[in-house]
Symmetry: C2
Subunit: 205 residues, 2 copies
C-alpha cells in the first residue's frame, strides 16, 4: 500500500505502531484527524508530548503521578502499614473503585514474562524491597492477575521477601459473584473449595 | 474513572476522541506510550503534527499529497480525459491496486449523508464541476460505495452533470469473484442479471 504523501505515510506508521492497531485502522484514524479542524490534531499531538514529558512516577509507590509523590501516598488518611502490590495504574483504579481498600499501593509496572523479555530487573521490585526493609510495613497483599505471568511474579516476590518479618497475603481466587457454579472452570472451583471460609465470616466480609 | 495524573487524563481524553477507541483502550495505549523510550512518543506526536501541518490537497483532484499537484495528476502517463470519482484516498489506493485503471481521479472527500450532516457543499463537487466544464474530459466514472450514501451521491452528481456532454458511467455491481451464487443477496443478484454482458466480452475483460 503505497501512500501518495510522505507525511501521511509517517503518521500511519506511527499510529500503527500502537498495539492492536493495524495499518488499515491507522490510515482510517489519520484521515479522521485530517478531516477535523487543524487544532484538534495539534492538541492531540500536544497531549501525547505533554504526557511523556510531564507525567512522573511516584517516588514511593511508582504509580503515574503529576507530582513526586502521588495523591494516595501523600494522603494522611491511607494506611501506610499495608501495601497492595499491583501490575499497573489500571489495577490501582480497579481496586480504588471497590472502595474496600484503604492501604497504600506499589505499582510494579509490569509482570515477569520471559516470553516478552521482561525480567525482575525491569520491574520496580528494588523500590518495593526498600519500602519493606524500612520496618514500617506490616502486610503486603499481592494483587496480580490470575495468569501465568501473575503467578510467576507472585512466587518471585514471595521468595524475595519471605525472610522479612512481614505478613505476605494474596487476594482470593474463587467463583466470581454472579457466576454460575457449573460454568466455573475446574481450577478456579478447586481453589475456591480448598480456600473455603466459615459461612459466618463470609456474611460479614 | 478518576486518573491520578492530569497529563495522563488529557492524553486518554485525546486518544479516546478517535473513532472506535473507547476510554479503556485509550488508557491502554497511553500506558503503552509511557512504557516506550520517550523519543518514541515524541516522534509519535511529531508525526501527527507534521501530518496536519504539511499534508496538502492536490489542487486538481483533491487527493492528499505533499505537493500542490499529486503524483497521479502530475504524471504524463495518465489519461486526463477519464476521471474516476471516489470517496477518499483509500479508494484511490484500492483502484490503483487493481492495476486496471490508467485515467485520473477526483476525490470527493466524503459522501452525501444527511444523517451525519454532510451535504454536497462539504464535498469537492465544485472542483469537479470546474474540471468537467473545461471541455477536456470525455468520461466520468462514478466509483462510490454500494451504500445508501454512495447511491445518493451518485444520483446527485448525475443530476448535476447530465447536461454536460460527457459520458457518465458507474462501476459494475454484481456477484463478487469467488462468491457463491446462493449466498449472494437478492439485490446484487438482481442487478447482475439485469446488467448481464455477452459471454464473449466477459472473457476478454
Amino acid at each position: 500500500m503505497q501512500l501518495p504523501s510522505k507525511h501521511l505515510d509517517k503518521a500511519v506508521e506511527a499510529i500503527s505502531s500502537l498495539p492492536g492497531i493495524g495499518r488499515r485502522t491507522a490510515l482510517r484514524l489519520a484521515l479522521f484527524l485530517l478531516k477535523q479542524p487543524q487544532d484538534f490534531a495539534l492538541d492531540f499531538g500536544d497531549a501525547i508530548h505533554n504526557l511523556v514529558k510531564n507525567a512522573k512516577r511516584c517516588v514511593v509507590c511508582n504509580n503515574i503521578s503529576d507530582h513526586d509523590t502521588c495523591s494516595i501516598c501523600a494522603s494522611v488518611k491511607r494506611d501506610k502499614k499495608t501495601i497492595c502490590v499491583v501490575e499497573d495504574i489500571r489495577d490501582v483504579m480497579a481496586i480504588e473503585g471497590t472502595q474496600q481498600y484503604f492501604g497504600s499501593y506499589h505499582v510494579l509496572g509490569g509482570l515477569i514474562s520471559p516470553m516478552d523479555g521482561i525480567g525482575p530487573a525491569d520491574l520496580a521490585i528494588g523500590l518495593l524491597a526498600t519500602r519493606l526493609n524500612s520496618g514500617e510495613v506490616e502486610e503486603v497483599i499481592f494483587a496480580l492477575s490470575a495468569t501465568m505471568e501473575g503467578d510467576t511474579t507472585n512466587f518471585y516476590l514471595y521468595r524475595q521477601f519471605k525472610e522479612i518479618e512481614i505478613k505476605l497475603t494474596t487476594i482470593a481466587r474463587g467463583v466470581a459473584v454472579g457466576n454460575e457454579l457449573e460454568y466455573t472452570d475446574e481450577i478456579t472451583l478447586g481453589k475456591s473449595i480448598r480456600n473455603r471460609l466459615l459461612y459466618e465470616s463470609s456474611l460479614t466480609h
